[in-house]
Symmetry: none
Subunit: 223 residues, 2 copies
């Protein structure tokens, strides 16, 4: 079952409700990036009810990169269409069939940023009413946790292992440093968008560890 | 879409959250039987957020019988196995395909009684973790409202134009020529397999024309 990663969540109640419904559907790895009200959070514990153990062992991170470092496939649950070019799949067609995967959920008000989304291989949208599309955070976790458990484990055995988040970050950082040094980012205002575009397109490729090694070789060779 | 009937709900917050998520999934007929704290309920209005109109037009009933009087098919969402001999279907197999239907949700603590269930044609169960099976009321409404709306197809969003085969070949040829010149393909027997791997991984990214231009720039910059 995937890890659930709450990115900069604001309300402790929502964290607790998310943990509770994760437990209802048999998900047990809760990760939180930079919770607004710090950690531990009393309201989260209260709302979690019987899922208190899940709150107690939640992992807290300072950065997205750390939170996904050991995950090799990252889904982002976001309703918003972005200019970011990321593969998009709508429930119920999302199979959640990748091993060592994680699902990102953005902050209540603002959602995931384009920078957050550079860590994602795929966007999962929940089809909602266009007039009121925005789900409460814990409701979004409920629907996706339900869908994860409904599709059951369909192990894809014969696949090469995917590169981990940590390996991907390392590669992107190397590539960007190299490009910077060579003067590729000429227009400062466009630099971060350009970096995002490069990351998005390579994330869409679902790179394996071995392919990432090839890309490192490619960069080294071109220098 | 079915009506949602909350039977003797206790917490205004749960009523509001249920209304909000109904609206998220395009359900708009909320009925409430004998709400514990009376009606109207300020907390319900607060939690409903943008679904306030749905709260405003909610129908309040004294009895189950009145609430389902104009419904011709009644589902009961309950996790508990009962001695009552009612047809039972588990999500996601429940089709919710009956016209003029309603779905009953019981009170937070006690659930639907056997008397309540005499109004139901069918029990819908949500498959949950046996160790922590009991969903929060609004979470149960979320999952079922999602499943009701999931019957509908989701429309495809318009995408950036993809790079043409010709453009891709041109890019790969350029890249390979560059890599050749830099001595990247050291082992002749492995050259064609290596080229295939690089092409495969980038083809998987479904590159747009614009992204391909960025990649050309990346290669140029690294030289």
């Amino acid at each position: 079952m995937p890890s659930i990663i709450l990115v900069r969540p604001q309300m402790g109640e929502n964290i607790g409700a998310a943990a509770r419904v994760m437990d209802n559907f048999g998900l047990d790895d809760l990760r939180i990036v930079d919770p607004r009200d710090g950690w531990p959070n009393e309201k989260a514990e209260e709302m979690a009810a019987h899922a208190a153990p899940l709150i107690a062992k939640a992992k807290i991170y300072d950065s997205m990169a750390d939170a996904v470092a050991d995950r090799s496939y990252v889904y982002a649950a976001t309703a918003r269409p972005r200019e970011a070019n990321i593969r998009e799949v709508s429930l119920p067609d999302c199979a959640f069939d990748q091993a060592d995967s994680a699902i990102l959920f953005g902050p209540e008000r603002s959602g995931l940023t384009n920078d957050d989304l550079t860590h994602a291989h795929q966007i999962v949208t929940i089809p909602t009413n266009p007039k009121n599309p925005s789900l409460n955070l814990a409701q979004a976790v409920a629907v996706i946790a339900y869908q994860c458990s409904a599709v059951n484990e369909s192990p894809d055995s014969s696949q090469e292992p995917l590169a981990t988040g940590e390996d991907l970050q390392y590669f992107f950082n190397q590539l960007e440093a190299e490009l910077s040094q060579k003067g590729f980012f000429r227009v400062p205002e466009k630099t971060s968008h350009m970096k995002q575009q490069i990351r998005h397109m390579l994330m869409r490729a679902d790179l394996t560890s071995q392919e990432l090694r090839i890309l490192h070789g490619v960069i080294r060779a071109l220098k």
